[in-house]
């Protein structure tokens, strides 16, 4: 039996703890790499909006059909592109994080991290960083496909691109934060996609992603107006459709103020609920 050796007293003058932001960037690299290795999820998240755009633009745009308003009209592909961008952002942020974090929690990955000196903030910086990277990539792919395959004209004013940028960023942040909060809802990692996907699908249908929003029943419009997707899609329409197309909106204007307000409100709701609900351990783990 070995005797208890006195621990070789380590010169225990450990260096300073690594910075939160530096670790956040290290997490971002780790998360991005991990994300792109989950091939099924990547293909779904990236291909889904593109395929939907192709289907809807092709089906509704047969025989040169277009959406008319006043004296002018836009092709279906151009009308649907903004909704698909909004959908893509929601998939990359909300759906992606709600499922991924639920699975990570279920598999014990979060608990493992909790046992290390990694700050919680660095973990979330990593998640947000990964979401930003995939959102930008996703939107780029959508814009390229829309411009090259469907001849959708890109906006030519810097004001339009500025709107594009803030709606994209705010929408991504809101989706990510809500995704973190919602990841605590599914009871297990396996049930996560079964819980999250239908919500995302329903929101897509009632928020004017697949249909012309002004033709939906008004009660449906009102329900959709509670949620961010409708507003993100509307914000993107204000970027990619001509100004006169605001006539197609329910209110007859683009409502930039309301868009910012609703997205910000959900951002705050997501932050508060996320902070209250977030757990490092599984629910059945005490």
């Amino acid at each position: 039996m070995s005797t208890t050796t006195p621990a070789q007293q380590r010169v225990s003058a450990t260096g300073p703890l690594p910075g939160t932001l530096r670790l956040g960037l290290a997490r971002t690299r780790y998360e991005v790499r991990g994300f792109f290795r989950e091939r099924d999820a990547v293909i779904f998240i990236f291909a889904y909006p593109v395929i939907m755009l192709a289907i809807f633009a092709t089906v509704f745009g047969q025989d040169g059909n277009s959406i008319d308003f006043g004296d002018s009209s836009v092709p279906f592909a151009q009308y649907f592109l903004p909704g698909m961008i909004a959908t893509g952002v929601m998939l990359s942020s909300f759906q992606n994080l709600a499922i991924a974090i639920a699975v990570e929690r279920d598999e014990g990955g979060l608990k493992r991290l909790r046992a290390t000196p990694l700050p919680a903030a660095s973990y979330f910086v990593g998640k947000i960083g990964q979401v930003l990277v995939s959102c930008v990539l996703q939107v780029t792919i959508l814009l390229l496909v829309a411009a090259l395959a469907f001849d959708v004209p890109m906006p030519d004013s810097s004001a339009a691109w500025a709107t594009f940028a803030w709606v994209l960023l705010l929408g991504t942040a809101t989706g990510a934060v809500c995704g973190v909060a919602f990841s605590s809802v599914p009871r297990s990692g396996r049930s996560a996609s079964a819980v999250v996907t239908p919500i995302v699908l329903v929101l897509q249908f009632i928020s004017g992603v697949f249909f012309q929003f002004d033709q939906l029943p008004s009660w449906m419009q009102q329900v959709a107006s509670v949620f961010p997707l409708k507003w993100m899609a509307q914000g993107m329409r204000s970027v990619f459709l001509p100004d006169e197309a605001a006539a197609l909106e329910v209110s007859g204007t683009w409502q930039h103020g309301a868009i910012a307000a609703v997205l910000l409100a959900w951002l705050v709701v997501g932050l508060v609920l996320g902070a209250r609900w977030f757990r490092w351990r599984r629910r059945d783990d005490g």
Binding site: P6, Q8, L17, G108, K111, T116, P119, G286
Partner: protein, 297 residues
């Protein structure tokens, strides 16, 4: 000069509803030792360890881990700790090399990631994604991630469950080398053989309390350690408990010459353990049987 113990626990209590998971548990882990915590499922081992790791809050009692209260300790404290949880299946898509290098960044004074990979014997698997590792390799990866931060204290929760004998042996060598580096190790296990092989001291927990502790060879006290001499005489089998089996055998030899069906039995740690938890728990045999089945899976 004596250094403060790595872990000090006194009168620890934790209940889930009406069930007392930990019920007045006392525990000391000295610096540099390997302490094995044994006990049936539901004895309070995991709850205790998770309180020490800072995952759970206690209802009552004093807890000091590396001089701090785990309930309030911060990042600096965590950086001195290594935690190897029970089997998980996270981290599937990252490679061994990526993971060890990545986790090393979390710590102020990490070990060299490549040296850690060598130490756990995963050099050949450095480019393999963790989902493709065998059970034993996967556990080695868990240990690598647990020790890459150069922890002073490592918690190992059932580290070798599901290992084949050879993998278990080489895992033990790895843990012994850690101890030789001065790392304090708190190990929970279902394998008595593992405790016997690795631990300087063993603590047996049952129903939320420590029911026995000591070096593996001393556990259970003198009576539990007595040898059992068995033989068969004309009137049937006999047995005698004794501290001096040689003297008994000598006496028998004088009586019988060649003693019929002579056996001298020493209780194994397992015998002692089963007696210990049987003494305090009516259904301990059943628990032990359950554990065996679980281990067999």
């Amino acid at each position: 000069m004596t250094s403060a113990p790595a872990v000090e626990v006194s009168a620890l209590r934790k209940a889930y509803g009406h069930k007392k998971a930990v019920d007045g548990l006392d525990l000391v882990v000295e610096q540099g030792e390997i302490l094995a915590v044994l006990g049936p499922n539901g004895a309070g081992k995991t709850t205790t360890v998770e309180i020490l790791e800072g995952f759970r809050h206690r209802d009552a009692g004093d807890v000091r881990v590396l001089g701090e209260d785990p309930a309030t300790a911060g990042r600096a404290w965590r950086s001195r700790l290594g935690v190897v949880l029970q089997t998980t299946n996270d981290l599937a898509e990252a490679t061994v090399g990526e993971l060890v290098h990545h986790f090393a960044q979390y710590y102020p004074d990490a070990r060299d990631a490549d040296e850690v990979i060598d130490a756990v014997g995963l050099r050949e698997k450095v480019g393999t994604r963790s989902r493709q590792l065998s059970g034993g390799q996967r556990r080695r990866l868990d240990v690598a991630l647990g020790i890459v931060g150069r922890p002073e204290l490592v918690f190992l929760d059932e580290p070798t469950t599901g290992f084949d004998p050879q993998a278990r042996r080489s895992f033990w060598d790895l843990i012994a080398r850690l101890r030789d580096d001065g790392t304090t190790i708190l190990l929970t296990t279902h394998y008595l053989e593992e405790a016997e092989h690795l631990a300087d001291r063993v603590v047996v927990v049952n129903e939320g309390k420590v029911v026995a502790q000591g070096a593996p060879a001393d556990l259970g006290g003198r009576t539990a350690r007595q040898a059992l001499v068995r033989w068969t005489a004309a009137d049937g089998p006999h047995e005698e408990r004794t501290d001096t089996p040689t003297a008994v055998v000598q006496r028998l030899a004088q009586t019988y010459g060649e003693v019929p069906a002579l056996q001298v039995l020493r209780p194994t740690l397992e015998d002692v353990y089963l007696a210990l938890i049987g003494r305090t728990s009516g259904d301990a045999d059943q628990d032990a049987a359950t554990e065996t089945t679980e281990d067999a899976r």
